[in-house]
Symmetry: C2
Amino acid sequence: MTLEDKDMTSQVLADVNAMGKAARGAAAVLSVADTGQKNLALLAMADAIDAAASILLAANAKDLAAARVKGIDAALLDRLELTPARISGMSEGLRSVAAQADPIGALSATDRRPSGLEIARMRVPLGVIGVIYESRPNVTADAAGLCIKSGNVVILRGGSEAFNSNQAVAECVRQGLQKAGLPEAAVQLVATTDRAAVGALLAMDEYLDVIIPRGGKGLVKRISEEARVPVIKHLDGICHVFIDAGADLARAVEVALNAKTYRYGICGSMETLLLHGDEAERVLPMLVDAFAAKEVELRGCERTLALVPGMVAATEADWDTEYLGPILSIRVVDDMDAAMQHIARHGSAHTDAIVTNDIGRARRFVRQVDSASVMVNAATCFADGAEYGLGAEIGISTNRMHVRGPVGVLGLTTEKYVVNGDYTTRG
Amino acid sequence: MTLEDKDMTSQVLADVNAMGKAARGAAAVLSVADTGQKNLALLAMADAIDAAASILLAANAKDLAAARVKGIDAALLDRLELTPARISGMSEGLRSVAAQADPIGALSATDRRPSGLEIARMRVPLGVIGVIYESRPNVTADAAGLCIKSGNVVILRGGSEAFNSNQAVAECVRQGLQKAGLPEAAVQLVATTDRAAVGALLAMDEYLDVIIPRGGKGLVKRISEEARVPVIKHLDGICHVFIDAGADLARAVEVALNAKTYRYGICGSMETLLLHGDEAERVLPMLVDAFAAKEVELRGCERTLALVPGMVAATEADWDTEYLGPILSIRVVDDMDAAMQHIARHGSAHTDAIVTNDIGRARRFVRQVDSASVMVNAATCFADGAEYGLGAEIGISTNRMHVRGPVGVLGLTTEKYVVNGDYTTRG
C-alpha cells in the first residue's frame, strides 16, 4: 500500500465515521417522528422516483455500460438493470410500505404487579441500521422506505457496479426526506466504491445497531465473520417439498413444479422433493413429464431410480446443495417422520412444505419442522415479504434470534419496558 | 504448554463438543414437549432441591472453605454462599416459572393474503442456549427452569469457585428431568474447571444458538468479543432518576433513596440523580439529610455545590461511572429536555426514571428516553425479572436486538412463519 493509498483509506474511515455520528443524531429524531410525517416522506420519495424515471434510466445506462466493458455476466447485468417497470416497482414498494401500520409506540397489554407497578412493553426502532448490498439498485429505495417507516436511520453501501444508479435513487430519497422535514442524515449512501468503507461499517459498533447484508453467500459470510455489530443474515435456502400419502397427486405436482420453476434464482425455490413411498410409483411419472417440459434436470435416490430407470443418480452432496438453477433432487422416504428427519439433517431451516390432505400430519409437520417458514399445501417460492403482506422486505433472515424469515417493518423494531407507579418504592 | 496440558485441553474440547451434539439432539425433543411435561420437570426439580437442602449446604460449605483459603473477597463469598433461604429461593423460583404461561406453539393472528394463503407466526424456542456464569449457584436452577419452560436446551458453565455447589444443584435438576421423562441432555453442566471449556463454548456455533453471560464486566466483555455465537449481553447499568418540577418532593426523595439504597450492587441501582432547577433549592436539603442517614457519599455539579457548600464536587468521569456502591452523583438541570440529554449522553440505556405529576411530560419522557426500562414514579431498582412478573430472569439484556431488559421465558423464544394454502401456487 502506498502512502497515498493509506491517506485515501484513512479519509474513507473518517467519512464513514462522520456518517455514523450524523446517523446517531438523526436516530433521536426518527425514533419519535409522527406516522404522518414518515408516510409523507415515503410518498414524496415515491413521487420523486416516478418523476426522475428518465434520470434514473440514464444513470443506470452508465452503470450497465461500465459493467459490459468489464465483461460482467448476464445474471448480474439482469440484477443491475433498471427498466420503467422496475422503477415503478420501487415507487409502488414505497407506497405499499407507507400503507402499512406504524408499529412504533404501540404498547402491549399492561400487567399490574403486586407492587402496584403497571408494566407494559412499547415498540421502538432498533436505531441505526447498516445495509450492505450488491448489484440491485432497488434495494436503495426498499431499505430506505422500510427503515424510515420503522423509525430507524440507515446507512447504505451499495455495490460499486451500481454506483450511479444508487446515487440517483438516493437523490430521490433525499428529496422525500426534505419534503417531510426529516433530517437528510436519516438515509445516507456511502459515496465511495473503496472497499475499506465496508470494513469501517463492520467495525462501527458505536454508531451502528445492526448490519443487514444483501447479496451472495460470499458477501454474507465475510460480513458475518468480520462484523463487530449484530448481523441479520441470510445464508442458504435449501428448501424442501414433501408429498404425503393421500395427497391430490395432480395438484401436488403443480405445487412442486411451481416451487421449483417460479424462479430458479430465489432462495425460496425448492431444491429437494421428498416423496412418500406409497405414492412414489404413481407420482414419479407425472413429475418426470412435468419437469421435462420445463427442462429441469432430475437427480434421484436409489428408490427413485428403481422406478425411473435412466434418471441421473443423486449423490450425498446433492442433498446439501442449493442449486439456484434448473436441477432438482428427488428422494423417496418411508413416511413423514423420515421426511422430517431428512429436512432436519439436510435443510437450512429456511422454508419447507408438506403437501397433504391429512390434518393431523399437517399439524405435526408445522409444529416439528424447525424452519423460518413452514408451509402446508403451498409452494415454497411464496417465502417473500410482499407475499407475506410486509409491503416489502429488507431481507430474509436465517438467524434464530430476533427475527426469522422475511423481514419487514416489524422485524426492524424491538420493545422496551414501560413501568408506571405512584411514587412506588421496593420493599 | 506441556504435551500433557495439550492432551487435557483437547480432551476438554472433545467433551464440550460431545455435550453440544447431545444438546442438539435433545433440542428436537424439548421443542415439542408438552406444557404439562415441562412443568412436571420443573416442579420435580423444585422438590428435589428442597429434599436435598442438607446435601446442597454441605457441597456449598466445601466451596466456601476453598474460597476462604484462596482469600476471596467478602462480596464474592456472599454471592457464593447458599443458605436455607436461598435454597428455598431456588425451588420457589422453579415453581414460579412452572406457573408461568407456556408461550411455545402459540400462533399470532392469521392474515389472509390475496393469494389465498393464510399466514401466521408461531412462537418457538431459540434452540440450544449456553449460560456462562460466575459465583452464584442459584443461576444453575434459574437457568435450567427458564430454558426448559421455554422449550430450550441449555449447557451451563458455572464458576470454578462454585464447582461443588453447581454439581449438587445440577443433580437435582437431573432428577427432575428424569421424573418427567425428558432427556437428561436437556440440561448439561460442564464438569470441569478448565478455562478452555469457555473458549470451546464460544466457538461452538454449530451446536449453540445463543450465549448468555452472567457476571462482571470483564466476563461479559471477553465473551462478547470472542463469541462466534450470538450473545444476549448485559453491560453497564448507569441508571438515572429525574425529579421534575412540581413533583411531590417528600415522596420523590423516598423514591430516590430507594433507587440508590435498596441494594447498592444491583444493576438497576440509581447512579445519578437529576434535579429540575426549580426544585433544587427545596429538595437538596431533604436529599442531603436522607442520604446522610444511609451514609451515601454525594457528589454534586456546580449548581448543586452552590446550594450545598462543602459537598464533594463531581467530575466529568462521575457522570459515566457505575458505582455499584454507596456513592451518588447529583446534577441540577434546566428542565426535562436537559435531563433527557444528560441521560442520552451519559446513560447506558438500562433503566431510567422520571418523578413527576405532569402527565404530558411523563408521556414524552417515556416515548423519548431510549432505555430498556423507562419508569414513571417508580424506583429504578425495580428493574428485575421477578418484579416484572417473569417468574425469574436469566439476565437483563442491554442488547437492542431480540430482547431488551429483564429476560424471562418469552425472551428465550422466537417466531417462525406458518403458511397454509390449498395447493396454492404463485402466479
